[in-house]
Amino acid sequence: MSDSGNAIELNGLTKSFPGVRAVDGLTFAVRRGEIFGLVGPDGAGKTTTMRMLAGVLAPDQGSATVAGFDLTRDAEPAKHHISYMPQRFGLYEELTVDENIRFYADLFGVPRREREERSAELLKAAGMAEFRSRLAGKLSGGMKQKLGLVCALIHTPEVILLDEPTNGVDPVSRRDFWRILYTLLDQGVTILTTTAYLDEAERCHRVALLHEGRMLFCDTPANLKASLPGAVLSIVCADPRPVRDLLAGIEGISSAMIVGDGLHLVVRDPQRMIPELRNRIAAAGLSCDAIEQVAPSIEDLFVEAVQGGHGQDRQDARDDHGGQGHTEDREHQGGGR
């Protein structure tokens, strides 16, 4: 492992497909023992980044180091130290849970005794102990994801790459998932995960937002929320769509996002804005229940960044807050929404 204390380093990593630059000069680093979240809208380039870091896709330009191995030169030796769980279920449906686990254990040279101990432990943690002889193809979607994680963790990796691991997983199983991940962090493993759930992003030590192959932000969740320019107003209303269309583009509102019970706006001056909003909504013949200032979430920040385009200037702030983020966010584990 490199001296820098970074388990993963990306340096100008770039990958193009015909007609699209999927990953565009990506540079960031993940420290050892950290859990790092990569978020972004569909097509942002998350999967492409993960594939390059897993050594299964060759970058066009730039370089990356994972677990101390330069991927452009030593992708194959690096694979002994990496666990990769692809976004699409990658296990054998005709094999049972145990057979899949054994297959991956054998590929990584895990001795039999260790395999048996580890798989019993992991399956128990995943709540799958009684499904060991079921065919993988007959598992539910969430179970498949958990089996993917178990197979990825059957050897002792230094770096774990998870591409939307909790996609399609029910909330209870997601808790199992995160419990397993935090146990691994205690053992000094480094985790890079992508996620579509922004509440999960808040459980990471640091988070990076990817958009069109570039990184807009990279910081601890707490710092990111603090750095949101302006404040978040929540408008509770039954039919948020016309309200959003009405308000979008008004001077002083930099982004508008539909949420579960209404609308979130990012505004510069919340106190002055509340009465103005009430007036405008009423004048347009629309209705709303409450308008109040709320604490910003990561989601607010990301919508603001993608819609408002303010992200670029914050990119250089990325490296400076990780240390505090660590302890702070460990306590976060139980606290997802």
């Binding site: 299964v56 060759a58 194959e76 990769y84 692809p86 296990l91 054998y92 005709e94 057979e99 054998d106």
Partner: protein, 377 residues
Amino acid sequence: MNWNRLCAMARKEMIQIRRDARSIGIVIAMPIVMMFAFGYGVSFDTKHIPVYVYDQEKSQQSQDFVKRFQASVYFNVVKTVQSYPELVSAIDAGRCQIGLVVPPDFSKKLRSGQKVSVQAIFDGTDSNSASLGMSYTEAVAQAHSQQLQLAWLRGRGQGQPRLPVSVDARTWFNENLESMVTIVPGVVAMVMAVVGTFLTSLTVAREWERGTMEQLISTPVTPLEIMLGKLAPYVVIGLADTSLCAVMGVWWFGVPFRGHIWVFLLSTLLFLIVVLSLGYFFSVVAKTQLAASQVSLIATFLPAFLLSGFMYPIDQMPAVVRGITHVVPARYYMAILRNVFLKGSPVLTMWQDLLGLAIFAAVLGLAATRVFRKKLA
């Protein structure tokens, strides 16, 4: 290369084959069905073969000859035609299987004690019944000759025996007609060419299609381990399949097995390496099961069918085509199998064919190890 990883690949592949109904079908049903389809697809009921006669002389003697055919249970003289084209079109249209042409000088030559050739044209598309028809025709001609000879001897006192009438047999569409027994060893080679390539053509493509490849190539497993691990189960299956075909050939079709079993196994092993590597190669390149299986069927079935000596004898091909047959591995295997089943001549006489197979096994096997890349797209 790591032995444990190789075994893990092979074990996984074996479990997949066992649990996949389609694989089981290819492994067990396909050889049996193909053996029957090729070896047995023809009707053995060769009694009353329809015959058209073009009697150019219409003499007493020629009519006697034709009557002999009519009298035999094997033939049914359906019609007498007045021209050659009529005869040809009847064969083409399938109205008859044999066209008999009696020359205009039939009786004249017989009288002067010369040898007469009667032309018999066979529809060779159904080679089994054609071959039987041919031997019956010869038998009838022979019997007629003997009768004439007896009469002639009786008339002349003792003299040297002659065979006045012979059949000059020409078979259309299958110039060098072969009997059932010679066909079956070729069928075994054909079946293995197709089944072998087909089996492995699915194996890599399936991993791409189902999305299991991405996770597989993120592990330390090497391309060589992937290939050997995937092919090992199919080598075992292929040997079992070939033995099954051979047993069917001997017990069901009554083909002899005169050579050494180990020549059979060695050549089969070499041929399996050839076809399995080829299938693996297509599978890696095509990345979809459909494309891979289609390409492999076309690439193995047609050459094995047309250019291996199965359908047309190699020594009767035009020089250019004969040259091409040297790059059809099935050609060598076919020759070895025919020898092993029918002749059982010493191994050394087959060294060229064995060498040819070994070279193809080495080249294609090596090419297959090179083609796979542990990267996406």
